[in-house]
Symmetry: C2
Subunit: 107 residues, 2 copies
Amino acid sequence: MTEPAFLVLTALVDRPRHGYGIVQEVEKLSEGRMRLKVGTLYGVLDRLAADELVSLDREEVLQGRLRRYYRLTEHGVRALDAEAARLAENVRSARDRLRDRHAEGTA
Amino acid sequence: MTEPAFLVLTALVDRPRHGYGIVQEVEKLSEGRMRLKVGTLYGVLDRLAADELVSLDREEVLQGRLRRYYRLTEHGVRALDAEAARLAENVRSARDRLRDRHAEGTA
DNA sequence: CCCGATATCCTGCTTTCCGATATATCCTGG
DNA sequence: CCAGGATATATCGGAAAGCAGGATATCGGG
């Protein structure tokens, strides 16, 4: 799973959101570090929908502007959980090794 | 930074390794989960070298076979450390949200 | 004697990223 | 009253990246 896909899934965990809302939520949850590009978003959303990790929740027309809401599927929840575990393992092994490297210099 | 790049840097933390050795080390440190493709490796190595996160350590000819060793630069160590922190943040926010989602169902 | 492991590298296909652009509405400030 | 920023979706095309496959070459085991 790519990083933008991971962030989109994370943004959808608490409730369905529309495209622009996802962009804002990703920026918020990453404390401004990640700014999801709209050019990236729709491609990611299409791929996630094709894989059935997200699905179209509903469409609203608010003040003449279309809002298309996506929600996380149960499959999506499991995929996000598995990916988080996988990334955590990568982080752990990198940190273990970095710690050993510095410990050697100290010893 | 892409995931293969992250894994290559991790594999080089403890000592310089040559291409094929990196492939094996990545497979070992990920407990068989990640199998780095050779077609991916050399492109990654070139990019990391261009960014000065790794550098050519030495070349050996062992039993008629060339071995080209790469080592992590100090810049590479810092980049790996920063990337690990960034990924850890992504994992943390995903897990926080997943926990809340399940807590709601429980409450 | 062939095959798997070891070892590097290139080519080309596919996927993905993302800047740019297009379209359209609403609100605020000047 | 109008310019510009925020809100909102979508597409195009270039660039970057991933990766399967194949070329090339040695060594050891069955």
